[in-house]
Each structure stands twice: as C-alpha cells, then as structure tokens.
C-alpha cells in the first residue's frame, strides 16, 4: 500500500512540473503590464519603467522560469506585486475561506447526493425516484452563478433568512486562529460565532454544492442499480441475507467505487465554481483572490493561486486514488 502510494505520488511529479510550466507560461503570455496596473491610470511612463526594472520583468523567459522554480522548491511562492506581501503567508486566510466553503459544499453534496441516489435505486421507478432524478437532472444543468444569484435574491434579500455576503458578521469580528472559522469557533468555544459562521455558509454552500450533489446522486443511483444486478448480490440474496445487509454492506461499498471517482472529479467543479460563488457572495476566498489578481496583473499571485488550486485538485484526486485502493482490494499495490 505504501509503495503504491509512493508510486502514485511520484507519478504526480511530471504533472506537477507541467502545471508549473503552464501557470508560468500563462502569466508570461497574458498581455498587460503589471507596473502599469500597480500604478494605475494616472501614472507617468517613467514611474512605470522604473517599476518594471525593479520587478525584474525584463529578464528572458527561461531565466524568470528558473528563478520561479527554484523559489517554489524552497517553498517561496513569491511576493505579491500589489501588496508586497509574502504570498505563501497572505494566501492562507483566503485558502482557508475556500476550503471551508468547498469542504462544506462537498459534504453537503455527498450527504444529500448519496442518500438520494441510494433511495432512488432502492425504490427504483417510485415517485421518490422520479422526482429526485428530475431534480438531479435540473441540478446538473444549473449554472452555478445563476443559482447563487437567485438564492441570494430570494433567501437573503427577499426573505432575509440568511446573510447575503461574507463569512461572518462584521459586528462580531472573529478571532482568527486557523482562519477556518468553524474550527476557530470550536477552538475558542465561541458558539455565537459558530452559529453566525454556519449561517453565512448555508447559501454559498448550497449554490456551490448543488451541481456536484446532482451528479453524485445520479452516479450513486446508476452505480447502485448496476451493482444490484450483479452476480455477487444475487449470491448474497441466495444465502438469505437481510435486505439491509444486501444494500448497505454489499451493494453500497461496491457502488461507492465509481462514486468516489466522481467525487474526485467534482472537486474540480467545486474549486472552479468557487470563483463564481465567491464573487457573488463576497466570500474572501482564493477564487476571488485570483480573480482580483488577474485584473491587477499581479503575476506572482495569479501564478501561485492557480498552482495552489491545481495542486489541491491533484491532491484530492490522489487521495481518491488511494481511497479507491483502500476500498478495492483488486487494485494492485505493485
């Protein structure tokens, strides 16, 4: 198992290398001058030239890439052009925001999706099956930004049930320890904060989680149906096991294998959708961090942000692969 894990990790190396090359090239190819952006529309050309010089933007591509890689290897993501801060440090609170959002969205998606899928498969062709699958079909077709907008409008603006923006109430500044507010609230025993944080999470979580939820529900259902038709389930039935043992022990574990893959792939949808959701719900997360950085031409931040997201995505898929191997003894650990 360990050897398998190591092998999977080592296989990542070329991918990671490719990723750095892609992110770096993207940045190089983006037209527009960061110096100009930093200084704004009222800057003089001299000031811009001086800043360019200072930022080392005049070096050739490979020199800049070499510097970039060696910095990366030493854990240095560079310095934001906009804020002059160390990106590795500056990024964490944003990353924490995105992680909190995406993790909850994913949990929501998995919890609702898997259960709906199981029940639908179990009660195939029932009213529940039809309605939940129609909802899932609509969910799959939902543009995340529109859903987020409609949610914000209806539940925050019209009904006022949930706050329309941000991670916390500005009147109750949070004491950030880890910047994962839920965790912080638990650590400090601040239940009030926990409640407001959760309340802020609901709308963006649902918006972001709906598409993966729908996909997971559909996947769980079809995978479950297929498993329920399989020979070994017939064997289990033939030996007189309870229906619940058949479904929850034998069928579910098998049905989970394709579902896990989907969950891994949906991590990408979530991370991508986070950009849109964060924009709409003014959620200080990494998606917005990158998006802002793009309009400011903050190269190092764009580069590092994209890289970090891609890295997380790759890691999630690595975990999925390992989980896969842990569930399925047929995966060879050679």
């Amino acid at each position: 198992m360990l050897a398998y894990a190591i092998r999977r990790v080592l296989l990542l190396i070329p991918v990671l290398f490719g990723m750095t090359l892609v992110t770096f090239s993207i940045i190089q190819l983006i037209p527009g001058n960061p110096a100009q952006t930093i200084l704004g529309e009222q800057a003089t050309p001299q000031a811009i030239a001086a800043l360019e010089e200072q930022l080392g933007l005049n070096e050739p591509f490979w020199v800049q890439y070499g510097v970039y890689i060696s910095d990366l290897l030493s854990g240095d993501l560079g310095v934001s052009l906009r804020t002059n801060n160390d990106i590795a440090q500056e990024m964490w609170p944003y990353l924490a925001g995105t992680l909190e959002l995406t993790v909850f969205a994913m949990l929501f998606a998995i919890f609702v999706g898997v259960n709906a899928g199981i029940i639908s498969a179990w009660k195939q062709n029932s009213i529940f099956d039809y309605t939940s699958m129609v909802i899932a079909l609509i969910g799959v077709s939902m543009p995340v930004f529109w859903l987020a907008l409609m949610e914000q409008w209806f539940f925050a603006q019209e009904l006022g049930w949930f706050p329309a923006f941000g991670r916390n109430n500005p009147r109750e500044p949070v004491e950030a320890i880890t910047h994962l507010y839920i965790l912080d609230a638990a650590l400090t025993g601040n239940w009030q904060q926990l409640e407001t944080t959760l309340k802020h999470l609901v709308l963006p979580m649902v918006a972001l989680g709906t598409i993966p939820m729908a996909i997971i529900a559909r996947m769980t259902r079809s995978s479950m149906l297929e498993v329920l038709r399989s020979d070994y389930i017939r064997t289990v039935q033939a030996k007189g096991s309870n229906q619940s043992v058949v479904i929850y022990k034998h069928a579910l574990k098998n049905a989970f294998i394709p579902v896990i893959t989907v969950v891994g792939l949906q991590a990408g949808t979530l991370l991508g959708g986070a950009i849109l959701t964060e924009t709409i719900f003014s959620w200080p997360g990494i998606g917005r961090y990158i998006y802002d950085a793009i309009s400011y031409r903050d190269y190092p931040v764009i580069q590092s942000g994209i890289l970090v997201i891609a890295f997380i995505f790759v890691c999630i898929n690595l975990v999925v692969d390992l989980l896969y191997a842990a569930i399925d003894p047929r995966i060879k650990y050679d």
Binding site: G32, T44, L81, M142, N169, S282
Partner: protein, 527 residues
Amino acid sequence: GGDETSTDGNGEQNNNGGEESSSGGTLIFARGGDSQSLDYASVTDGESSRVTKQIYETLIEFADDSFELEPGLAKDWDVDDEGLRYVFYLQEGVTFHDGTPFNADAVKTNFERWADPDHEYAFTDEGYSYSVYGTQFGGFKGDDGHVIEEINVIDDYEVEFVLSKPLGSFLQNMGMSYFAITSPAALEEYGADIDENPVGTGPFKFVSWTKDASIVLEKNEDYWQEGLPKLDGVTFQVIPDNSARLTALQSGEIDLMDGLAPDDAAMIEGQAGLTTFERTPNNVGYLGFNIEKEPFNDVRVRQAINHAIDKNEIINNIYGGLAEPAANAVPKDYLGHNDDVVAYEYDMDKAKELLEEAGYGDGFEFDLWTMPVSRPYMPDPEQAAVVIQDALSELNITANIVTKEWATYLEEIELGYQDMFMLGWSGVNGDPDYFLGSLLSTDGIPGSNQMFFSNEEVDALLAEAKTTIDPDERAALYEEAQLIIHEEAPMVPLVHAIPALAGVDTISGYVPHPSTSESLKHVEISN
C-alpha cells in the same frame, strides 16, 4: 436546488448592533474593495487612504468638504516670498499610537523616506515605491525636477522645507493623505511590514486586518483633539457586490456603504431608517478622441460627436441623475473652471451638418474602447458605451465596443491603438494642473494625454500657470486654455459624477469629502 434550507433556517433576523450603544458606537463602513496597503504613501488607491485617513494625519488638513487648507499636525506655517522656504510649526503634546512623541524629527524622517530610495526605511528591496511623492514633488532625491532640496529640523516643533524652485501646489500637496506621518519607532520595529501595522497619530488605532474582508479600528483614547473621536471603533468591511452591500445595509449588518448604485439611490430615499450622502464631484468622465487617427483628426468630426451625445440621457440612464453634465475638463468650483465655456448642445442636425461638411455624411465605422472596470466617474462604462453607440448609430456611425483587461486597456491607449475611448480623471488635491497638465499638455504624451492633443498655445498657458503663484493669475491662464480646448474638442467631457453613499439615518457628523477619503472623527451613531 433551493429546496435545501438546512436545519438552522429558522428565519431569525440579524439584530446585532443593539448591544453596544453606551457611547459613540461602532461604525461598520462597507465598501467595494479592500485596501491595498496601509502604508499610504506607497499606494494610490482610494480604498487605502480611506482607512489610513483614520489612523494617520498630515501636516495640513483639507476642510471638511473642500480643498481649503486647515491646520493639521502643523498648527501654522510660513512661506517666504519666492515660495522657496516653508516653515511648519507643529502641534505639541501629540503622541503616536505606540506612545512615542510626534515631533519635527518624525516629519523629516518620513519625508526623507519617500524622497530617498536608499533611505533605511524606503524598503525599496521589498518592492516599496512612492510614486505619488515623485509625481507631486517633481521626482526623487537626486532627480533634476525634485523640488524639496532640504528639510531642516529647527527644534522639536519647528521644521523647515527648502525648495529648489517654486511649486504652486506645494501646500495643497501637504494636505494629501499620502503625505501623513508614521511613527519612526514603528518603522524601525516593523520594517517592511509597516503596511500591515500602521502606527500614526490619528483618531483611530489599528486592530486587525482580514484581507478582502475587514479592517478593524478602535478609538484612540489618547487622541490629541479633546472629545474626539466620538465613535468607539470603525470596521471597514469589503463587500464587492453592489446589491449584496445594499442588502447588508438593509438588514442592518452594516451602517454605511460606499458606491451606492445610482438606481438604488432613489429606492433608498423611500426607505425608513436609511439615508443617502452625496460627495462633491471632483472628477471628470470623458470620451477621448485619438486625434491622430482618421476621422478624428478632423475637428468638425469631433465637434459633431460632441453635438451628438446627449449627456442628460447618460446621466439619467447610467448615473441615476447623480452627475452634472460637464463642459470643462476640470470640475466646477475648481480653480480654472471656466463658466464661459458652454457645452456643445445636443443637436443631431448640427452634428449631421458638421459631418457632411467634413465629408462623413454617410457615416463611418470605428472602435469605441470601453473601460472594463467601474470607476467613480464612470460607474457602468459598458452601459454608457451602449448608449453612446446607440446615439451615434443615428448618424450612420457604427461604433464597435471594445473592451480589454484594465491593464491592457491603459497600456494600449497610451500607445494610441484606440480610435475613441472612455476614461476619466479624479482630483486629489484641488489643483487644476493635476487635471490639465496631465490630460491635455504635450508633456502628457506618451502618458495620460491619450488623445495625443498637442497645442502650442495651450502648452504655453499651462507652463506659465504652473510656475505662477498668485491664484487669480493662474485662474485666468487656465480659463484661457479651457477655451482653446473647448474649441479644439479633443474630448467630449461627459460628466462630473456625484458619488453617492447610503447609510442608516442614525449616523450624524458624516461629511463626504471630494477627495474620497474623510476622517470619521466627528461621526456619531446612535440607536
């Protein structure tokens, strides 16, 4: 999808704020973007100075709602006749938030830090640069144009600035929030991290900053002005989305918000408990012609288009009425604003006539470059472009709307790729040279004169005005230049926008300043 309302959706409403009503209260000020840095001199964005304005103070302050000069950290000042030697008499008994005293040495340290890239606190290596200083004072230490020759500490509370040549806007500059005084001890202590650990003399002290979310300030109990500030604290909350920001105000999560969408302003007025605030305009939004390109090299075409645009339509549509139609490049009430200049009236027939004269009676096609971002002077550039496009189509002129990334946009219009473009300019210190010298003199090419307007007469007038010290003389020179500019029509000055804010009506003492940042020390909020 929306069927999942989770377990805690019991519809309880957000009624916080009610608990801490004992004194001035805490003000939650919501805005569209975060500050870039709390080291005010190294950045130019308004969102930074909005915050630093509370923490830091300048030697000279502007009046509450204009650019009139008033004492700040300097209670008084003297100028010699040639305008080369300025002496500032400093307030006594002022301390920085870290407890160290404010004095002439602190002033000198700060100015030297900005002027000298090799200064120990310049943090050049960490990427700090003080471009506004360079712009306002003619460059940096060692540059030819640099006007501040030396700074002499006469005693603890008296400091002397010696200039190499007169600078008409020197005192005005001293009031700009960029040139506020940081505690030298803090510079020593925090080094390049000063931008996240601001220590000044202002009415509020820095508490914490969560990026892209909130900056929390608390009352400076030891503030040198008795009885101020009135608030216990201020939180600057970032809510980029306009409607989310408004919702937050309506639901009581925030008290005051910037960047009120014009259409919402009307709505707010009808709502109980809410009120709006208007900022005196200090900007111009304009449509620039690249006068080196056909057909805009023909003054008749430029005039025709000036006639073809209905500024009131734009003001109604885009600004919700919160703007004044512009005729000059500088805002009203500014030095050098020429009341005699009357805007080209909206007159399609005249426009047609002019075009026919110029040989473009059948119309033409061109690219209309549209800003990708919203600015106070242009809250919705794309929609404005659509209105303009629509208007020009009546003259058979096809305008293709072109947008680029903001940086690319700026870079390329400087290179002259555009046919016609939208942009604007905001004032910072109330000086007209900042408008006209940058936008319409030959010195501005390449640079902010993206119309490539080069007129010897105008150049001469502007140069003379710059070195003139007497305000009336300067005004006359600028007004003359305005007339020529109007006739040549290198731009369509569209509007001077009135930025609006909305807040709860329990706020008192809040006066929006034209420079976009104001001290909140007089503000009170009651329940």
